[in-house]
Homo-oligomer: 405 residues x 2
């Protein structure tokens, strides 16, 4: 009996740590003869493009635990009915009885459908999912491996750019950082974890969970800039207007009705906000669009994230060997807010994960819709870990007296 | 006799380390009674907005050595004739006999003109400049404090995004990273330091020192993508076409003659290249514009950079106390290529630094104009320091035989 493992969807800094967990656990089990890796996701199964992972030396597997990206390769193939026959043929050919994939809700749907098809056609196979996404929007788990490390990248970037913007306030009045995360606001929200004292960046958070309110935004921005001398804004890439249109696209239609714009290299929400503030206040400022750098900054990844990702991989194998298929491994936090962080593994049915998303709950979003609550900070801080505290000089004061001593 | 120190221009991760060096050296000298810091550059002198730095506790000064940004604040004030009188009045009032500024060539020009004016009006004052810029384009020095740390940020970003792009090649075909650096190519060039083996990112470097050649660029990009399955491109923000027009703006004129575009939040060269590749090859890909994050990523800063920045500050004070004014501190490399790095401090006349820029020399740029030479790698690698090596899985191979054992 052999095992097959694949990665799918966008990468994270720790998805390869989950892969190492699956391989290590399979190799240790007498039940599993061989462990195959699908190259480029399900495409590797269809094309019989598999890698004998058990044959890799221990150093390579260990190296995967701190290597960003998606070492087996990812795919954008959408499974169609005609694919299932050929897939089952390959599964039988390689005697695959344990089927693992590391990914998001689309991936969980793939596992569910492949296993279901196999069983309907008389092929006994156990499928277990390993959670992965920096977006942190998977149903049924406290958080998702990959989120903490991406959140730390966002937090460090916003903190450092905030210190710089404070010092450069006579030159530039604002800075905008755009996060990934599609329709979920977990990443922009995480930037709030860096505030150590009043006035620290970030000042304004734009979360996809709340419709963009131009007037309220401009009022808050003007207020913060007046108070602090500069304003730090963090926005999710997927923020939308009240009518559901993306802020990124809608703003471009203000001029020349330029619908080609999206094809010009991805107009971004941050760019549109930058334009808005430049036009509205005549300010100078910058926007920062780091895109997938958030998903692969291994030197900024969180140890807890690496360990949990690895643990989720091992747990998936443990469940499969016990015959507990049809589920995705989840992380269940056992510590209360303010307590030292602790968690245990759980499960969620693949079908449920496939059919749900998990936006930020209302209790984590401030009343004005442009900040987070302390409940969110209690949730996120243990995951991101401690952040640096930078030195600030005292506020300006005249020293005439001191000088005339 | 008192000393005055200021920071000017854009920040770096280590400019505050230079400030700490100036303050520590002044405090240790019996010749210097007080050390004042200008808030927001020369504006702080005009507005008598000074800080008594000697009065700060040692922990604060020490903290500055690892704090990004520009702790005293920066300014964009361009000195005019009418400013010099009021400035001299303040210098006399605070008995300033030692005048230090940390910055680039504009800053060196400011020091030169202020000291010259003071001396013409009978006020003896010694002025020394401390070099600072991530652009690495200052005349008379082997490199500039701030460059190595920004270069490391660029290198890590390009390396990590390259690993991700390799793994995502079935989804996206290219990734473009844009560096700062204005008309100098030192930062995009530095990304080449991350290549460990053939095929590693980056594949194409666009340096402002060479005119952008659309056809040559598209040919090289197509070739690299064919060879490696993806292509990693790094471009300087200031690349220009043969006619001297910026690539960032020119491409936008292809459509709608949209000259408003620049006001829409800074069109970028990376965005225009992204559009070019999407239109030309029908590829998917992304562009990354991190802007000033390159100038403040303290957690990615290089220890050598911190130490040299601090040393430049101390050296400036040593020179001033000896009466050797009118110069900027420089770093002179004493080690030969391949030898362990070593350097000593030197000087360059302020007027010379003010009137020169330092683009990449031809010997550092590859024949095709879109890569660097090994001579450049010998120059840059000791500054950036060792970079991580990530694990890669073997190239795909069929395992049918293995499976049928």
């Amino acid at each position: 009996m052999n095992a097959l493992v694949g990665q799918s969807g966008g990468p994270t800094s720790v998805i390869n740590s989950s892969l190492a967990g699956v391989v290590d656990a399979c190799v240790k089990s007498p039940k599993v003869k061989q462990v195959f890796g699908m190259r480029f996701g399900i495409e590797g199964v269809l094309g019989n493009d598999l890698l004998d992972l058990a044959a890799l030396d221990a150093a390579t597997i260990k190296g995967l635990r701190s290597t960003p990206g998606s070492a087996l390769g990812s795919s954008r193939l959408k499974l169609k009915e005609e694919h299932f026959g050929p897939i089952l043929k390959q599964l039988k050919k390689h005697d695959i009885r344990y089927f693992f994939m590391i990914g998001g809700n689309d991936t969980m749907d793939t596992i569910h459908r492949v296993v279901e098809y196999a069983q309907e056609h008389g092929w006994e196979m156990t499928g277990v999912g390993v959670p992965k996404t920096v977006d942190n929007d998977l149903h049924g788990t406290d958080h998702t491996p990959g989120f903490a490390s991406a959140a730390r990248y966002v937090a460090l970037s916003v903190q450092q750019a905030g210190v710089l913007a404070r010092d450069m306030q006579r030159v530039d009045q604002f800075v905008i950082f755009q996060t990934v995360g599609r329709s979920a606001g977990w990443l922009p929200a995480a930037s709030a974890c860096v505030r150590h004292s009043n006035g620290d960046a970030p000042h304004v958070l734009l979360l996809p969970e709340r419709a963009f309110d131009r007037e309220a935004f401009l009022n808050l921005v003007a207020d913060k800039q007046k108070k602090h001398g500069f304003v730090s804004i963090v926005c999710g890439e997927g923020i939308t207007n009240a009518d559901g249109s993306p802020v990124s696209a809608s703003a471009t239609r203000d001029r020349f009705n330029n619908i080609e714009f999206g094809a010009m290299g991805g107009t971004s929400a941050a760019m549109m906000l930058h334009r808005m503030l430049s036009n509205e206040f005549g300010w100078r400022g910058e926007f920062q669009v780091t895109e997938s750098l958030q998903m692969c900054a291994a030197d900024r990844a969180v140890k807890l994230d690496y360990d949990e990702a690895y643990g989720c991989g091992r747990e998936a194998v443990r469940l499969a060997l016990k015959g507990e298929g049809g589920v995705m491994v989840t992380i269940q936090r056992t510590s209360k807010p303010k307590e030292p962080y602790s968690a245990t593994f759980g499960t969620a049915p693949l079908r449920e994960v496939a059919n749900h998303e998990r936006p930020m709950p209302d209790r984590y979003i401030a009343k004005n819709g442009m900040d987070v609550t302390s409940a969110f900070l209690d949730y996120a801080r243990p995951l991101i870990g401690p952040l640096p505290e930078y030195t600030a000089l005292p506020k300006p004061r005249r020293v005439t007296s001191a000088a005339s001593q």
